[in-house]
């Protein structure tokens, strides 16, 4: 990534620790953490991918706190070092409102506390950083209330929905999209621990991690065929951390199916690939070490240079370096992937000079 190209990094994980969240939590939820030893049950039944678990080992904060938990260190190691123009925070780690199983009340309380903490400790502290509204989307009505509460914050650019085992295109969840559209927010989808293997975990981490794009494909297919983008024409969907090399297959497959089976989804007024081109964007990370020829072949198959946006996924173990992850592309295309595509996608990100 040459210096003269600005960067919008579409996936940066800030991390909260329980003790930091307490001051933002209402009772009795604070009490449940402080006095009743509640911690989130979240476990991947695998060997960890790297020395520091799922984080870059060199991103652990020098004082021992977990990677992503300190703004100053993130500024030094990522934002200043790379020279970010903008970065989108996608948090969602433990304690995550999206992984609360049946305890919706705690999940909604965590979401509100998380948003207040995110605004206070990150968005208000670094002008480059923009945020994601965390919601307990499994409790639709509480999610809508939370979007109404913080969605108009000038630096909140999207509502974050987890990719787990709920298909968000279901009309039951459409009030969430209505609220997002009202506040000029996009939808960001990021996987948590999706059951990619017929609703279960595969035997090995390498299988699970290879198959994550299938969980992303399911959500995009579901959102499109359920008519979300026909119903909410100003809504956009950013698919985060699933990669992008499956895009041509999805477009071809959905278009072919649409030609044969349109009668089942008569609300679609455009062919699925056109909906994807207009409304759906994909983060590049984790990229697959394509050479320039293969990369350009994919772009040609997509039929547009505007669907993919660069992401580092800092501080996770499969981080993509803006300098090394993609092949050496032509300047105009680089500018789109590193900056313009994301800038054009998020209406609340200002022009560089306005900042």
């Amino acid at each position: 990534m040459p210096k003269q190209i600005p960067l919008v990094d579409t996936d940066i994980h800030e991390r909260v620790q329980y003790e930091e969240l307490l001051e933002y939590l209402d009772e009795p939820f604070k009490h449940y953490i402080q006095n009743c030893h509640w911690i989130q049950e979240k476990h991947m039944p695998y060997t960890q991918p790297s020395v520091a678990g799922v984080d870059r080992a060199d991103a652990v904060v020098p004082d021992g706190r977990p990677a992503g938990s300190d703004l100053a260190f993130m500024q030094e190691q990522l934002l200043d070092d790379i020279g970010h123009e903008f970065g989108i925070l996608t948090g969602a780690l433990d304690p995550s409102p999206s992984s609360m199983h049946g305890w919706y009340e705690m999940a909604a309380a965590l979401a509100s506390a998380y948003n207040d903490w995110q605004i206070d400790k990150w968005l208000d502290k670094d002008e480059r950083l923009y945020g994601s509204v965390h919601v307990a989307a499994q409790d639709r009505d509480e999610a809508v209330k939370e979007i109404e509460r913080v969605g108009n914050h000038p630096k909140m650019v999207q509502v974050l929905l987890p990719i787990d085992d709920i298909m968000w295109g279901d009309p039951y969840y459409h009030p969430i999209f209505e609220a997002a559209e009202k506040h000029n927010l996009m939808i960001g989808m990021h996987h948590n621990e999706p059951p990619v293997y017929y609703g279960k975990w595969p035997r090995y981490f390498i299988e699970w991690h290879t198959l994550i794009p299938t969980a992303h494909m399911k959500q995009v297919t579901n959102m499109i065929f359920n008519g979300v983008f026909e119903k909410f024409p100003n809504l956009g969907l950013m698919m985060i951390e699933g990669g992008f090399t499956f895009i041509p297959h999805m477009m071809w497959k959905m278009d072919q199916q649409f030609r044969d089976l349109r009668h089942e989804v008569p609300w679609l007024k455009r062919k699925p690939s056109d909906i994807m081109k207009k409304h759906v964007r994909f983060c590049t990370q984790p990229s697959e070490e394509l050479n320039k020829k293969d990369f350009m072949s994919l772009i040609e198959q997509m039929g547009t240079e505007e669907m993919i946006c660069f992401a580092t996924d800092y501080p996770h173990w499969d981080y993509d370096s803006p300098h090394r992850a993609l092949p050496n592309l032509d300047q105009e295309l680089k500018k789109k992937i590193y900056f313009e595509n994301a800038k054009n996608f998020y209406p609340k990100i200002p022009d560089t000079k306005e900042r």
Binding site: V51, A52, D318
Partner: protein, 119 residues
């Protein structure tokens, strides 16, 4: 820079590593359990991670049948701190998953207690 003392032998225990400099070049000095020293460029050839933040460990080898594990080469494998790629210290820093790729390396000799990297 033709040669340079990069550390003392006592600075690194067998099975450990440390970063140092050979001129302006950031290098990684590894010491295998047999006491020998090796030097590589301290940057992963994939995306540039600082290798000294990774680990030295052993490897499960490709000689396994499905379902079989053999943990060997203990203390001879360098594992990247980002994506977890494994490099064989005693086999020219070759990557286990693709031995055609290897880490750039430097010559090393030991004189008394000095570990010397040279071209």
């Amino acid at each position: 820079m033709k040669e340079q003392v990069v550390c003392k032998t006592t600075d690194i225990q067998p099975g450990e590593m440390m970063e140092s400099f050979f001129g302006k070049q950031n290098v990684l000095i590894c010491r295998t359990p047999d006491g020998k020293f090796y030097a590589f460029m301290n940057q992963c050839n994939h995306q540039g991670a600082p290798l000294h933040k990774g680990m030295i460990c052993g490897a499960t080898t490709e000689q396994s049948e499905p379902g079989e594990y053999h943990y060997c080469h203990k203390g001879e494998i360098l594992r990247c701190p980002w994506h977890g790629r494994e490099f064989d210290i005693k086999n020219e820093g070759r990557m286990l998953a693709n031995p055609d790729k290897k880490l750039p390396s430097f010559n090393v000799r030991v004189e008394d207690e000095d570990v010397i990297v040279y071209k």
